[in-house]
Point group: C2
Chain length 345, copies 2
C-alpha cells in the first residue's frame, strides 16, 4: 500500500522534507479519553496489548485525533521477556512486576530463545497488519522493541527500580551470565523486529529506557554491543535508537547502522548535533512538562526549540513519553506548531 504521508521516512533517511515530521512517544495511551474508554472496558492493560483489533484501534486514535505524522503500534516492551518465558503482571499505579526473575545460569531456562515468533507474539504482528489495513497508507506505522539492556533489567530485577542494583550487580558478579542473557534477548529481539517488518512496520525504534543507569564503559559493553547487533540485522527499514540518559554514548550510538538518534530533554540538540554530525537524523526532544503550560507557552517553547535546529534531519517529538495527565488540546497545539513551522535551513 502506497503511503500518502511518508514525511517521517524521508526525514529518517535524510531525504528532502518540506517540513519537520512530528509524533509523540506514548501518543496512543492515557492522554486520550477515547483510549481510556477502550481500556476501561477490559480486564487490564495486558488484555489490550494482546487483542489485535483493540491494539490497532488505539494505535490509530492519535492519527485521527491528534493528526500526527506516524502511528506507533500499541504494545509493550515486556512482551519479549514474556515470550521468552517470564510472564509479567501490570500492577495498577506500580508498574510491571515479574513473579520470577533470572539470577543464575540455572535459571536461563526461563529465557528461551528457540521459539516461533508468530506463535508467541503473533498478537503484535496481527495488530500491525490490522492497523496498516485500517490506516490505508495515511501515515507510516512504527514498530518497536526494548533494547536488550533494558529488557535485561526487568528480567533480573523483576520490576522498576531507582537504581536497578540487582541488574547491575550481575554485571560485576557474573558478567558471563549477563552476556549470555543479553545475547538471547538480542536474538529474540532481532527475530521479533524482523516479524514486525514482515507484518508491515515502516520503521522501527529501539527503546533503551534504562541506558542512563550505566556508566560509559559498561554501557558500551552491556548495552551498545547488543544494539549494534540489532542495528546490523535491520536493513529493511529505517531504525531509531533512543537511549535515555546515555549522554556520554550518543556519539557512539550515532556510528551504528541506524538512521535516527533519539534525544531526551536533558540533551541540548545543538551540542548533540555537533557530536553526531549530519549523517543521522535527530529525534526529540521537547520537555514533556512543557505541555502543562498554556497554549501560548507550548507554541512559544516549541518554536524556540525548532529555531535551534540548524538542519532538516529532525523528527520532532518530546524528550520522553507524553505524561498521562496532559490535556490533548495541548498536544494538538504542539503538533500544529510543528506543522506550521517553516524550516529556514
Amino acid at each position: 500500500m502506497e503511503l500518502k504521508n511518508d514525511l517521517i521516512l524521508r526525514a529518517a533517511k535524510g531525504e528532502s522534507v518540506e517540513r519537520y515530521p512530528v509524533w509523540l512517544m506514548r501518543q496512543a495511551g492515557r492522554i486520550l479519553p477515547e483510549y481510556r474508554a477502550v481500556r476501561n472496558s477490559l480486564s487490564g492493560f495486558k488484555e489490550l496489548v494482546e487483542t489485535p483489533e483493540l491494539a490497532a484501534e488505539v494505535t490509530i486514535q492519535p492519527v485521527d485525533l491528534l493528526d500526527v505524522d506516524a502511528a506507533i503500534i500499541f504494545s509493550d516492551i515486556l512482551v519479549v521477556p514474556e515470550a521468552m518465558g517470564l510472564t509479567y503482571e501490570m500492577v495498577e499505579k506500580k508498574g510491571p512486576w515479574f513473579p520470577k526473575t533470572i539470577s543464575s545460569a540455572e535459571e536461563l531456562k526461563f529465557a528461551e530463545v528457540d521459539f516461533d515468533i508468530e506463535d508467541r507474539l503473533g498478537y503484535v504482528t496481527e495488530a500491525i497488519r490490522i492497523t496498516n489495513k485500517e490506516l490505508s497508507g495515511r501515515v507510516p506505522l512504527i514498530g518497536f522493541a526494548g533494547a536488550p539492556w533494558t529488557i535485561f533489567c526487568y528480567m533480573t530485577e523483576g520490576q522498576g527500580s531507582k537504581t536497578f542494583s540487582v541488574a547491575r550487580k550481575i554485571l560485576y558478579t557474573d558478567p558471563a551470565l549477563a552476556h549470555e542473557l543479553l545475547d538471547r534477548i538480542t536474538n529474540v529481539t532481532i527475530a521479533y523486529l524482523k516479524a514486525q517488518i514482515k507484518a508491515g512496520a515502516h520503521m522501527l525504534q529501539i527503546f533503551d529506557s534504562w541506558a542512563g543507569i550505566l556508566g560509559k564503559e559498561q554501557y558500551s559493553e552491556f548495552g551498545i554491543r547488543y544494539i549494534e547487533k540489532i542495528a546490523n540485522a535491520i536493513t529493511e527499514v529505517p531504525l531509531t535508537i533512543f537511549s535515555k540518559g546515555a549522554f556520554y554514548s550518543i556519539a557512539d550510538l550515532a556510528k551504528l547502522n541506524c538512521n535516527t538518534i533519539g534525544l531526551d530533554w536533558q540533551m541540548d540538540p545543538v551540542s548533540f548535533r555537533n557530536e553526531i554530525g549530519e549523517s543521522r537524523t535527530i529525534q526529540g526532544n521537547l520537555d514533556p512538562a512543557v505541555l502543562y503550560g498554556s497554549h501560548e507557552s507550548v507554541e512559544d517553547l516549541t518554536n524556540k526549540m525548532l529555531d535551534t535546529f540548524k538542519s532538516r534531519r529532525h523528527i520532532v517529538n518530546l524528550g520522553h513519553g507524553v505524561y498521562p495527565d496532559i490535556d490533548p488540546e495541548k498536544v494538538r497545539t504542539f503538533i500544529k506548531t510543528v506543522k506550521s513551522y517553516e524550516i529556514n535551513c
Copy 2:
C-alpha cells in the same frame, strides 16, 4: 579542637595532599550491622534523626569501623521542609511521604521562613556538637542540606517520583510560585547551614538529588540560581555541590563560589576535569555497584579510576550513596585501596 586528619579539607581547598582522601555518601547507614542495631531499637528512622546522642553515635560508626577520612552528620535533607511546616513520614520500603504539599500561593503558609533554626532544627546542631566532642578531632565532620530544587520537589510532589511531573508542572504553570518557594527554601537553608557551621561542621555539601530531571535552561533558572545564593553566603568552610545527573551544568556549577564538585558515576572524571579545570576539586565517582564485585575486582576498578586522575584535586567517593546491601568488607577494600594508592601527578 585541632584536627588530627585534615586531608579532606586540604584537598577541597586545593592545598598539598600526600594521598587522596576518601569517604562514602551514606556511609553512616544500613550497610553497617552496628547501625542496624541502633536503628532497630527505635520506633523509626525519624527517631534516630531527632535524637542527637544516637545520630552522633551512628555518625561516628564509619570512622571507627571503616576508617574513612571524614564523618558526615547522620540526618536527612527532609528536616528542612519539616522545619518549614511540612511534616513527613518515612514509609518503610517506599521512602518519604508528605501528607500535605504546596500547590498554590495560598499554601505558602506551610513554607515558613521566619523561625529560629535552633528552635526547630536544634537536634541537628546538637548532634554536630556531640559528634565533634566524641570524635576529638580524629577527622573533619561534614554537614549538609538538600539543594532548594530537590527540596522543592518533595514539598510539591510529596514523595519520590520517576518524573517529578507535579513539581515540574509548576515551573511552567506558575513560575512565580516556584521562585517564591525556592527563595524561601534557600533562605532557610542558608540559616540552617550557618547553624551547622556554628555548631562545628568543618565542611558542607549540597545534595541536588533531582537536578538531572531538569533540562539545562530550567536547571539554570530554578536550580543553579539558588545554589549560587547559598554558595555566596557560605564563606566560612569549604563547600561541595553534588548535582546528580546534571551533566550539562557541571561547568556552570564549577563557576560558583564553591570548592568541590561531586560527579555521579555516569560522568567521566577525565572529560569533566577538562570542563571544570584545576580551580575546583572533583569528588567521586566510582559506580556504587562496583562494591558488589569480588575484593580483587573492587581493588582493580578503584585503582583503574584513580589512574585516570591527572590532578591532586580529588576527594574519592562513590558516584552516589553506597547501596544498603553492600558487604562492609568491600567498603573496607575500597577505602584501603584508595589509602594505599600513590599519587603520581
